[in-house]
Symmetry: C2
Subunit: 230 residues, 2 copies
């Protein structure tokens, strides 16, 4: 049973209207990720919807700055966050023609956007692009599998796992700057905000972490954290 987190703003009406832009021949960039970056950039305000579940998956996205969450809401309001994407991450890759998850900006964000058809067209001609498309999808698969391994653990292990995961994705060795709320974390971990909060203070009491502010976490004892990670 999860948190009925349906009551939250979603500055919709920010529909995507990216000007058509032909991807020219020229020298093929080695990284598809870089190709996306050459696309149009858009700004999204905190909590603005980037795309919705079941919408046609016409674009690929790359976070330039800010943070993005993808999520799905069940009939009764329970929300599951599928992933957080940080600067440099590519998202929006999905199997079929339509998105399975919705995507929102966690905080004000700049996102590079590229037409899927452009990439696909490129992939059809260029084998290397096709391979990278596949590699990106595989990486996503791997990430989701890791997420599953998180979800079967105890509350403490989930929170610790989340902190270690975020830490690995952040520049600083010991400091984590969380762009997301406790509700976001809870919905990512399949817990309630209360349990997340309690677990964090408990970790602080045991000197494993320090909560500089509620959004800034200092990892004080990585050894202990790794031990608590299950």
């Amino acid at each position: 049973m999860l948190s009925p987190a349906a009551i939250r703003v979603s500055n919709a009406g920010n529909a995507i209207k990216v000007p058509e832009r032909q991807t020219e021949a020229g020298p093929v960039p080695q990284a598809l990720s870089d190709t996306i970056e050459t696309g149009v950039q858009m700004s999204f305000a905190r909590n603005a919807e980037i795309y919705g579940e079941n919408e046609p998956a016409d674009y690929l996205y790359k976070v330039i700055s800010g943070a993005v969450r993808t999520y799905k809401v069940l009939a009764d309001g329970r929300r599951q966050i599928g992933a957080f994407y940080l600067p440099g991450d590519v998202f929006g890759l999905e199997s079929g023609e339509h998105h399975v998850f919705s995507a929102e900006a966690v905080i004000d964000s700049k996102i590079a956007v590229i037409r899927r058809s452009a990439v696909m067209g490129l992939a059809a001609r260029d084998n290397d692009v096709a391979r990278q498309l596949w590699v990106l999808t595989s990486r996503e698969l791997r990430r989701v599998q890791d997420h599953i391994m998180l979800l079967i653990k105890t509350a403490q292990e989930r929170v610790v796992g989340f902190l270690l995961e975020m830490s690995a994705r952040m520049p600083s060795e010991t400091q984590i700057e969380l762009p997301m709320s406790r509700q976001d974390i809870a919905d990512y971990l399949g817990l309630t905000i209360e349990t997340v909060s309690r677990t964090l203070t408990q970790l602080e009491d045991s000197a494993a972490i320090e909560l500089a502010t509620s959004r800034r976490v200092l990892l004080r004892d990585r050894i202990a954290l790794r031990r608590l990670n299950g």
Copy 2:
């Protein structure tokens, strides 16, 4: 906290040694899945290991008959089953060079095997194969995402979700022949065998299903099941 299900046989020593076989030119089959089927077939006894975690991912597999589970065991013995593969399903596709999960035969099974390098070589020359490789990976991604949505639900919803999922993959409309044990189901759903068992009898008591035998389930009231699915 999950079941310490580490104590289970694993008829190893069934190392894969597939004879090299050049994939000839000829007309390109439209389905990669069919291509795999043209490969060498191997038999695996119940509980035999097909590949292990961290082994090089040199092959692609397709279930001809039987059933396969992929899984990962945590340090303390908790096991999470990532997926069940039934006849017709392709598995073994992974991002990197090494498997992230282990794979075992749930029951005696026949598996078609093909060298990954052969497929990749084919993909390098043939765009269509590359695309299908990507489609298969995307489909797997989708499946894992659905699995996550299962794992955040209540015990009853998970069990019902599992039954509906299996039902959709089986020939019969109303009857499910389960190849796997309660332990397997529990480890797939992130529950204990006791909870799975109790939930099934509870579903039977409410006339939603009927347990012909412990491995044969009859779906008596799909409407009720869909309602209980969350």
